[in-house]
Amino acid sequence: MRVVVADDVMLTREGIVRLLKDAGIEVVAEAENAPGLLREVRLANPDVALVDIRMPPTHTDEGLVAAQTIREELPQVGVLVLSEYVEPTYAMRLLQEHPERVGYLLKEKVFEIATVVDALRRIVDGETVIDPTIVSRLLGRRRRVDPLAELSGREREVLELIAEGMSNRAIAGRLFVTERTVEAHVTQIFQKLRLPESPDQHRRVIAVLTFLRT
């Protein structure tokens, strides 16, 4: 797998690169700001770009904007955004235009290299990746009338994995059940939450996240 890494802090960037190389992933280029990232991505045409959300000049959402540009320009290149922000707003912004082949992980996960590598592989496979911390925060939200109370324990688990961007097959693998069982759960969940069931796995992520946020 060929990856471009963009982070303005050299210490972090070199750490990531080294860990990725140790994990057998080919880092084809590095960048320390958004224009540099776009240049390297256009040149190297990698499988995935790993992008820090905060980069110069304002250190707010330059990485996110660059990620959207990459998805727009080069649909075959996936993007994994590393972010300090737990707010789902940013993850939703990333998903809005091109929900496939994108991922949003919290920055603190970066040195749990297995998590990062797993996310990269899922993105290359065409999945969506949303950090479990964000999903569990949304699921744990206090509500006066909680529609999630209607779900069984297993359905809640499935919902969580859907929100994290997993495909039915991946969910089945994770929960040690058949894909058909997962499909049945999904139908149940969408009925109970009165959500229109979408055949598109990526749109499904957006629908669930939007539901959990309101």
């Binding site: 210490l11 860990l19 250190h59 707010e87 920055k107 040195f111 925060r137 939200r141 006066r144």
Partner: protein, 582 residues
């Protein structure tokens, strides 16, 4: 040229009236028809009426009006008005007829000068000044030229005076005729220009100035019409014939122009005096403690100028403010408007921006009005200081926010990056220990890694508490939604506008919701509802809960809301703020 003292003015009046009476005598004693007055009673009456009206108007304006020189002009015009009759005094002394010839030409420049200077006593605008001066100069040149070369005896088109010119140096009939023809065309063009100036003034001037100018515009139009018609009539009939209907009609219109002009002068003077008296009286019409701006309104009414503005001078900050303390931009001169500076005890207190139809407002404003103005100025000064204070409160809040934001960024970019690097080193060390088979070190390093992770999490929530980056990034609605996601108790957002507001407004609204939420949690509420609506330029934020009664004062919040000129209402289980949001 202008008559200064009252004695000479009275003498001028006497001379004018004598001239008028003489005109009557001339009209009666004539056996040759060389003036208009002897052809009809109407022409005689109008001639006398116009001349006498100009003289009386001149007297009234010079004695009662603010612009004495305007009155002198009118007096002079009244005298010159009768000159044409004296030219036709058939058996009169030659020098009287010759002087009459010389003087009669000056009637036109005097009348247009009066018309264009009438409403304010001065000529406004470069073009107007050039126009009037050039007509005077041309008239002088023509009068001198004709006096020197025109021998009436050799003039085939002479009618009023065909015998006398005592100034004649050398008779040059063709040159005299050329001068006369050139003079006619020049006069016609000048008359058209006067009408244009009048029209442009009616278009440009503001309401009161336009109304004040109307009678003079009418006089100018009548006069110019008569002049142009006269030139055209002479082209057809070179010999002027007072018995011909065309020439008689033209003469009557000219008389009417003079009468209208005189009446307009008297009317303007009377109105101006009435207004100045009204200005002097306005303090009586104001109450004990008039609200800011009422003095300006009273003055506007007294002057009859709804657009009148007063700007008060603040010596401390060297600027002008209105009655409410708002800064006044440079009061530029506009057509038909003028500035009057007002001084009290030697210090400037205000300038009044008003219609030029009421010049010389300054002496009309008496001590009582000045005292009232000084009071209003002091009030405006304290209002201006209040506005400055308010601005500085907002600045303090904004500076505080900016510093919090910077701190949040420093935590992110500094401490967090170092913790990340540390966590990375710890992982490397653990991997090394594991490969070396040092299990106890590996365990310790695992615990240390977890510690570093927890520190990162705490740092993140600390930074968020210092300043929620999402507020500046995505706005109030998103930030409040995020608050709802992480709240310890159910929080329902009924409404939150998606629009962006000033940073200070957004942070005040956000803090209100956050503090209301914290307070509700302390009072064991089971849920909180947040409602944010925008209504009539105000952002209204309401936080309700079902907990026990609150005893919090929300001092910090009240300061923030106060700085924004908003209102904070603290109820037992309700927190509500109204913030002006433009």
């Amino acid at each position: 040229m202008l008559i200064r003292s009252a004695v000479t003015r009275l003498a001028a009046v006497g001379a004018g009236l004598a001239a008028g009476l003489g005109t009557l005598a001339v009209a009666h004693g004539l056996e040759r028809r060389t003036t208009y007055v002897e052809y009809s009673v109407l022409a005689l009456t109008l001639t006398l009426a116009a001349g006498v009206a100009l003289i009386i108007a001149g007297l009234i304006v010079s004695l009662l009006g603010p612009a004495a020189q305007l009155g002198d002009l009118a007096l002079l015009a009244g005298l010159v008005w009768f000159a044409s009759v004296w030219v036709g005094w058939f058996k009169g002394p030659p020098w009287v007829r010759s002087v009459g010839m010389l003087a009669a030409g000056f009637l036109f420049p005097l009348l247009i000068h009066l018309v264009l200077a009438a409403s304010s006593g001065r000529l406004h605008g470069v073009f107007t000044r050039i126009l009037v001066v050039s007509v005077y100069v041309e008239t002088l040149l023509v009068a001198v030229g004709l006096a020197v070369v025109r021998d009436p005896f050799f003039d085939p088109y002479c009618w009023a005076n065909c015998t006398d010119n005592v100034f004649l140096l050398r008779s040059m009939p063709s040159l005299a005729r050329a001068i006369e023809a050139a003079d006619r065309w020049f006069t016609a063009v000048a008359a058209a220009a006067v009408v244009m100036v009048c029209i442009s003034r009616l278009v440009i001037d503001s309401g009161p100035a336009r109304r004040a100018f109307l009678p003079f515009a009418l006089a100018a139009t009548l006069l110019s019409g008569a002049v142009v018609a006269h030139v055209l009539a002479l082209r057809r009939t070179p010999l002027e014939d007072p018995s011909a209907p065309t020439f008689r009609a033209i003469f009557i219109v000219e008389c009417m122009a003079a009468v209208v002009l005189a009446a307009g002068l008297v009317w303007a003077t009377v109105r101006m005096r009435a207004r100045r008296r009204a200005v002097a009286r306005i303090t009586a019409s104001l109450g004990q403690v008039p609200p800011p701006g009422s003095l300006g309104a009273a003055l506007a009414q007294a002057v009859g100028d709804p657009e009148l503005e007063i700007a008060y001078w603040l010596a401390d900050s060297q600027r002008y403010v209105d009655a409410k303390g708002n800064p006044v931009a440079n009061l530029a001169k506009a057509p038909g408007r003028t500035l009057t500076g007002l001084v009290r005890d030697g210090r400037p207190i205000a300038v009044v921006f008003h219609t030029a139809a009421v010049p010389d407002l300054e002496p009309a404003i008496g001590a009582a009005v000045r005292l009232a103005l000084e009071n209003e100025r002091l009030q405006a000064e304290s209002l201006a200081q209040l506005a400055q204070l308010r601005a500085s409160r907002i600045r303090i809040v904004e500076t505080g926010d900016a510093e919090r934001r910077k701190l949040e960024r420093d935590l992110h970019d500094g401490a967090q990056q170092h913790l990340l690097a540390l966590s990375y080193e710890l992982r490397l060390a653990r991997a090394q220990a594991e490969s070396d088979g040092d299990t106890s070190s590996a365990r310790l390093l695992t615990a240390a890694t977890r510690g570093a992770q927890e520190a990162l999490g705490e740092l993140r929530s600390l930074a968020h508490g210092i300043y929620p980056a999402i507020l500046a990034e995505a706005g109030l609605a998103t930030a409040v939604a995020t608050l709802a996601e992480t709240a310890l108790l159910p929080m329902e957002v009924l409404a939150a506008p998606d629009g962006r507001y000033a940073a200070a407004v957004e942070s005040a609204a956000y803090l209100l919701v956050a503090e209301g939420l914290d307070d509700a949690a302390r009072r064991h509420a089971s849920h909180v509802t947040v409602d944010i609506v925008q209504d009539a330029g105000r952002l209204i934020i309401t936080v309700d809960d079902d907990g026990s009664d609150s005893s919090s004062k929300f001092v910090h919040l009240a300061d923030r809301v106060g700085a924004l000129d908003g209102r904070l209402m603290v109820g037992p289980t309700r927190l509500r703020a109204e913030l002006p949001c433009g």
